[in-house]
Symmetry: C2
Subunit: 341 residues, 2 copies
Amino acid sequence: MRVTSEDGRKPTIIDVAREASVSQGTASDALRGSDRVTEETRKRVKRAAENLGYRVNRVAQGLRTGQSGLIALMLPSAGGVEMLAHEYYVSALIGASRAAVAGDLGLVLLPEIDGDSTGAELADGVIVIDPPRRDPSVKRLRKEGTPVVTIGADPSLPGDPWAVIADNEENCRSVLDRLRASGARRIVLISSDEPWGWFLGNEAAYRSWANEVEMVTTVLSAGPGDRDGARAATADLLTGEDPPDALLALTVDSAIGALEAAQDEGIEVPEGLQIAGLVDGAPLRDGDPAITCFDLDPVAQAEAAVKLLMARIRGEEPSGPVVIDGRLIERESTRPVRDGG
Amino acid sequence: MRVTSEDGRKPTIIDVAREASVSQGTASDALRGSDRVTEETRKRVKRAAENLGYRVNRVAQGLRTGQSGLIALMLPSAGGVEMLAHEYYVSALIGASRAAVAGDLGLVLLPEIDGDSTGAELADGVIVIDPPRRDPSVKRLRKEGTPVVTIGADPSLPGDPWAVIADNEENCRSVLDRLRASGARRIVLISSDEPWGWFLGNEAAYRSWANEVEMVTTVLSAGPGDRDGARAATADLLTGEDPPDALLALTVDSAIGALEAAQDEGIEVPEGLQIAGLVDGAPLRDGDPAITCFDLDPVAQAEAAVKLLMARIRGEEPSGPVVIDGRLIERESTRPVRDGG
DNA sequence: TTGAAAGCGTTACCAT
DNA sequence: ATGGTAACGCTTTCAA
């Protein structure tokens, strides 16, 4: 066993041990603050490490402990990482990053869902945002025993306790109730033709709610980022017969497109038409009028997901899915609620 | 040496070797497509690996080869990862992610600039965006021999060839020239009080350009994300004496704030006031009028940075800084240039 | 062409 | 309280 410390190489724990005149194992214990070593030797070892500029090799540490100290965040794969164009995912990324730092974990970004991504294979666990209905890569992660936590329920694993979810039905209803409370009697939903669970679930919630309150339903479709499509579709609707007095938009772009259409037609918002969204985003905040919406709090969702994943990695028992309550953000695109409801 | 394959454990290369009746080393060679092994044994080994569901342990691989297959992206630390609120950084992240995938590398996000981030220590190299003037962590990375590539020059390492840069002076001048070509005779710069190199460099370029063309200079300041501050400052300017006929805004928010101020004062854009920005962003594209700006092409910058970092990790010689040309995006907030210039 | 064995740097166990 | 040493899973050299 070579125990020389050629210069040029990075110092290893062996160098530190020799410098401090202790054994390799003791150096390891001392550096990690084990109570196996005397306070005095601990100090000596730390000083030696400092002198040598020693930093633990986390790869070697990982091999030995079986943990890399990395978690991965997998974004939905509608063409790769470009989903970051949506503020929701950026916020989730921010939340995950913050929580990872707090937990002394590194965060690797898992872009599109491919075969062998270096990130996934190195990570101790993976957070999957908006798991697709039948995605082979998530399935494989699970089969290989990688700890997985999802944000949003995994359609192929109903009732999975390792998930952070929102009560989408409840949230959707709360916004519908809010619109109705300020006078809406004909609410149209602007959804998408993408078969994502998010859209389908909200459409279902809308229909069941409308059924209960005996309201006619109409669902418009526009691509998730297709502002102009939403604008055109809304324009048709507003100029057609039986125009709505309120719009509920499932995406930021459809909300803005709807607002633009109303303004094109000279309809006052909220006086002539109320508009609300089901996710928040900068264009909604900055709009004129600013648009009322439900905020899913993606930062909190991601933070909760990291904590859940850490628990799962530690081998803890699941405590059921974590539900993050969002909140309704009142802005100018909806009329105030009269006291009598 | 234990060579049993208890079920429950993940299969190792030893299990594969035994399954294929070859030695450990041969299995390794076969799996990685070395030409040391017969085509026939290669197939057999691959099949064995397939059967067992074997995946290489990249931590062990990393320990042996000294490479983790990870690169880190360090975002500037104005309060952590929140810089992702700016589209520029999100775009850079997208570009880096794309290039990392293409190079079969994992991308870890290095949030704020702290002591021992798991991400940095595991990575084979680090990309630093907008290196701060005197940041201890970047300095330490360098001292420890971590390959570093910066996007934007590192003020503490002038002339570093391992950098992806934009010709900020030239870009700033091109926009100023453009404004002047369409009639601007008094251009005011909206900068920031943050002491970042980006702001300082552009202020200097503005002053030297104005000196050359004998134009009076005025520099306004507003915080990087302070739209209302920019709006108020611009309003003062527009209602004061000697109001400008053009505005050059260094941030997205200051450009929008300026536009709002103009509209508040009833000044037509671009007829009564031209406005241009020096970075692109959604609010500029979606504005009414949409705002002309210089696009730094952060996606291309990040892609170039990843390639440069890969070269540096491979031990190649530097080939001088990589300059990414952005481009001027003509939109509605500037008047057309008359043919005679 | 293949097998055997020596590390890579660390942690954890068994002695002392 | 500390030292010695065997793994961890892989790649790579040295023999055969």
